[in-house]
Amino acid sequence: MIPAAFDYKRASSAAEAISLVSQYGSDAKFLAGGHSLLPLMKLRLAQPAMLIDIGRVKDLSYIKDAGNHIAIGALTRHMDVETSKVLREHAPLLSHAAGHVGDAQVRHRGTIGGSIAHADPASDLPATTLALGATYVVQGPKGQREIAATKFYKGFLESDLAADEMLIEIRVPKMQGAGWSFQKFNRRAQDWAIVGVAAWRRKGEAGVALVNMGSTPILATSVATAIAKGASISDAAAMASNEADPQSDLNASTDYRKHLASVLVRRALEAASK
């Protein structure tokens, strides 16, 4: 309940945040909404020596129509992603999924960038942006670079972000009227998904990503390929776990998770095909 002692700096701009993190290196952690980091600190599972608070960096909270894609500032709160008119029109799968993150209090504090940078395979938005073929823009001391969501997730809570880099923008391609579905299976509404599925479909094309089915969010490429080749939804859904390697925990064994994934992928594709 009481974290270990730490130092604290507040950054007022992305540039200042990056300069601070360059100074303190791997002892430092960015603090945005705090909904992933602070619980870990209270349990003393995380003990960063320096917290760099980026919560007041104003220029990173936005949702913009950028032509082919929607650009979302990393510090945009889940609630803003959920209720954004632009996203509801062009990336309704993402705004809908954002409405299923935690509970209302979490959604008013937590940020899309924080969720993605934390790279928790059980979180909703990493898998959802992965399904949508998003690109993440990160900034470091040497400038900006773009990372495809497919290349970003490296392992459990591990991403391609360097210690002195910060996620600043999420670029989500417009869905162009594709059908979509977000299936979140859990025992309590506010929990992480036991298994989640983010899926979209446009005629012979589909994108499916899985929540909590491995050490990273999982892109179910076998399913998408099968759909592209004209397989039936249930045949495609049977391949849901081809790329997955799910854990066993209190709520679900590995086998049960795989079973759920195929049921939920089937339901998601059926809903997305309507």
Binding site: M1, I2, A4, A5, L43, R44, D103, F185, R187, R188, A189, Q190, D191, W192, I194, L250, N251, A252, S253, Y256, H259, L260, V263, L264
Partner: protein
């Protein structure tokens, strides 16, 4: 003099809003940890990470170097601080084994969370940091986690006892010797079932918090604690610490829920008191959530073997019950008594002859101690009998509601002396059950079920029910004595009319969410004819309420509330003598209506209570021998338990592909006799039902084979939230209790008792077409799905 009309404003039975809520909802209410206590040292307790281990060595030197750390104590350091081990007030048998239990372990730890060292520091951060700096060397031993394994005595936890068995408590009631055995031989139908009551974590919203404040001179000490039992805690802490009782004052500030988990005398309370006296400085402690899951008592934890015999019509002829009770590592305040409380309820609401064979053997395990948790023994018993009734109905291939109807104790049989020897004061089970069926639209749901549950369907409907009797209002002291309980079951009340006709009610009950301030004011208001807002209710401070036995077991209203009504009667009796004196008439010629005494037949000769109260205060004109002031004290020992009852029904839809269970409809028909405040009754039912649903679907203290608690925080221990629950529809029948003047029965635990079997029987009903006849709790999606897989696989063979 103005003559007041008889407004006879009826307060009892109205939905008065709770006076407790504004301060709670605005954050004004002060919980123990909100108290500002200058100079207090913070206590932190280092807890064992092993379920079973020898303590080889403890090095505290690094911890003592941390700035702010004042002292670190080990179990050995404090051995002389205790006059007695921690108390167990319920030695259920004369040969019960009770290992000595002290606030800190000395040589050996017996569960994950067992206290090993105590740190005092000037601030909370330093005391927390110090825990990480204490170096304890353990030699891990094999942990005993499984109940049947414990029973085998392969590994004995408390070596000096020579066994893991704490006690065996039998209850054999036979009309003629051997009749149970005979019934099982002769009866046409027999069922034999095994149920597991998983361990539950009570998870009060406010974790425990304590502050012990010594007086600078003279040795007096005040203990503030988030407790349900300030009065019992006062006596027990004085005895355990060897402090004269009159020097101990216990105060329970606002308490954020208990559910039985704060019905205990805890190590940390004793540590705070002992160390506050040692350092002559206030010492405070607040529990972290993970500590709460490990070091606060847990509930349930039983394996039940239940057998029913029934004749060709389904009339039950005998009941046999064998229980293994999980005590955990030590006996807490009433740990051993919990399964015994259930022993009297394995007849459920049914008319069963004297053919009952019950036995409970309770064992120690290397797990957190268990103790009373909402319902304490009675939900377990009710679950078993209701599940067994369902099994019997399946065996007989008849509808389980029909089977219940054949066995219900009939209305005209009350008062009914059950095979256990206890007398059920009143009841009408058929009425409550039929009301529940009507509110559920049972016929309509059954028709829909026929349509929906066709072969291949993946969303199956099920209806479940349970009828219950609750034995509550603990209790007649003499009955408790016959059960070897160390205390009585009375309750005390003082009612005082102040000179300005404002009223103080002092109660020995100790509310922690039940709304006693509102309900007790309503009782006094109605009795005395004053407005409820003119009644102040004082409680939970032993300096103000010196006598009492506190709040648990749905006792507060049928014992404590009735005590208040009786004290009001005494006040009225005295006031009547004064009124008769002043009105110059005979006391028996007076009537007391709406707060005014008047001469029967001549309403203009009247005197309001306000005038008498002021007159009693000035004492200028009192009858000969009459003491000044208007107050009365009562200690009330009830003649019987109180017996609320009811029937709950629910409708579920099971997704057979995922195992997810959705409760579509939940109907609770409860009969708690007369209701003081229906709003509060409904709140109690809602909360209780949710805790029962939680046991059925969500909650379980999960341990691994080494005795580590895997569900030690709120993301893994699944307390359901509003969004995970159905809307609960409550209904009532009203069968007033004939044993008290208010006609009231308890309602605190009824919901919990009714709900778990209602939900589980509904799930089994939904899946019956697939061959499912059993369902473990909690019925998580995975458990339901696996049970379906096993049943359908079995069916294909």
């Amino acid at each position: 003099m103005t003559i007041t009309e008889d407004k006879s404003t009826k307060i009892i039975g109205t939905r008065l809003l709770r006076r407790e809520d504004p301060p709670l909802l605005t954050g004004e209410a002060k919980f123990t940890n909100d108290l500002n206590i200058p100079g207090a040292l913070h206590l932190s307790v280092l807890r064992s990470p092993f379920a079973h281990a020898k303590i080889k060595s403890i090095d505290v030197s690094a911890a003592l170097k941390i700035a702010g750390v004042v002292a670190v104590y080990t179990g050995k350091d404090l051995q002389s601080a205790w006059a007695a081990p921690m108390p167990c007030a319920w030695p259920v048998t004369t040969d019960m084994k009770n290992p000595p239990h002290f606030p800190l372990a000395s040589d050996k730890v017996n569960y994950v969370g067992d206290g090993v060292a105590a740190v005092l520091a000037t601030n909370e951060t330093a005391s927390r940091d110090a825990l990480d700096a204490i170096d304890v060397q353990y030699e891990p031993l094999k942990a005993v986690v499984d109940l049947e394994d414990a029973l085998s005595d392969k590994n004995i936890i408390h070596k000096d006892l020579g066994t893991n068995k704490s006690y065996t408590w039998p209850l054999l009631v036979e009309e003629t010797p051997g009749c149970v055995e005979e019934a099982f031989k002769k009866s046409k139908y027999k069922v034999k079932e095994r149920y597991v009551q998983q361990r539950l974590i009570p998870m009060a919203m406010e974790p425990r918090a304590i502050a012990a404040v010594p007086q600078p001179f003279g040795g007096d000490i005040t203990l503030y604690s988030s407790t349900q039992i300030p009065h019992i805690l006062k006596v027990m802490s004085a005895l355990t610490l060897g402090i004269p009782e009159q020097q101990v004052r216990v105060v329970a500030p606002s308490v954020g829920g208990g559910f039985g988990s704060k019905l205990d005398v805890y190590a940390e309370e004793l540590l705070c008191m002992a160390l506050a006296r040692k350092h002559n400085t206030p010492v405070r402690w607040v529990e972290e959530r993970t500590e709460n899951t490990q070091a606060t008592i847990q509930g349930r934890g039983q394996i039940q073997h239940v057998e029913l015999a029934a004749d060709e019509n389904g009339k039950i002829t005998a009941v046999r019950v064998r229980i293994i009770g999980d005590m955990g590592a030590y006996l807490q305040l009433v740990t051993p008594g919990v399964p015994i409380l259930g022993a009297f309820l394995y007849a459920g609401v049914y008319d069963i002859p004297k053919a009952y064979d019950f036995s409970c053997t309770s064992v120690f395990t290397n797990l957190t101690p268990t103790d009373a948790y909402r319902g304490a023994g009675r939900p377990e018993a009710t679950y078993a009998i209701e599940m067994a009734i369902e099994a019997l109905a399946r065996e007989m291939k008849i509808d389980s509601f029909e089977l219940r109807k054949r066995n219900y104790i009939k209305k005209e049989q009350f008062p009914y002396t059950a095979f256990s020897g206890l007398t059920y004061d009143s009841g009408d089970h058929l009425l409550a059950a039929e009301k529940a069926a009507k509110m559920t639209d049972l016929a309509g749901v059954r028709a829909q079920q026929k349509k929906q549950n066709v072969p291949g369907a993946t969303r199956l409907l099920g209806v479940g029910m349970s009828s219950y009797f609750e034995m509550c209002g603990l209790a007649p002291s003499r009955v408790l004595a016959s059960l070897n309980y160390s205390a009585g079951g009375w309750e005390a009340a003082t009612v005082r009319v102040l000179p300005t006709n404002k009223v103080q009610v002092i109660t020995g009950t100790s509310p922690h969410g039940q709304g006693h301030e509102t309900s007790w004011a309503m009782i006094a208001s109605e009795k005395l004819g004053v407005a409820p807002e003119d009644v102040d209710v004082l409680h939970s401070d032993t300096a103000i309420s010196a006598l009492g036995l506190d709040t648990y077991g749905s006792r507060s209203l049928p014992v404590g509330g009735v005590a208040i009504a009786l004290a009001c009667d005494k006040v009225i009796e005295k006031a009547k003598l004064i009124a008769a004196h002043q009105l110059e008439c005979a006391a028996e010629d007076l009537q007391f209506v709406g707060g005014t005494f008047s001469v029967k037949g001549s309403p203009d000769r009247a005197l309001p209570l306000a005038a008498i109260a002021f007159g009693a205060f000035t004492a200028h004109n009192l009858p000969e021998g009459c003491e000044p002031n208007l107050e009365a004290q009562v200690s009330y020992d009830p003649p019987n338990f109180s017996w609320p009852f009811g029937t709950h029904m629910c409708v579920v839809e099971v997704d057979t592909e995922t195992g997810a269970v959705k409760i579509l409809k939940y109907i609770a028909v409860d009969d708690c006799g007369n209701q003081i405040n229906p709003l509060i009754v409904e709140g109690q039912v809602h909360g209780g039902v949710v805790q029962g649903i939680a046991q059925a679907l969500f909650e379980e203290a999960v341990y691994d084979e080494d005795g580590n608690l895997k569900s030690s925080n709120l993301s893994e221990y699944l307390v359901p939230a509003a969004s995970d629950l159905p809307s609960i529809t409550t209904g009532h029948t009203v069968t007033p209790s004939p044993t008290n003047q208010l006609g009231v029965k308890g309602i605190g635990e009824a919901g919990t008792i009714g709900a778990a079997p209602t939900v589980i029987t509904a799930i089994i009903d939904a899946l019956s077409g697939l061959g499912v006849t059993t369902m473990a709790m909690p019925a998580s999606p995975q458990t339901v799905w696996k049970t379906i897989q096993e049943a359908t696989r079995g069916g294909k063979k």
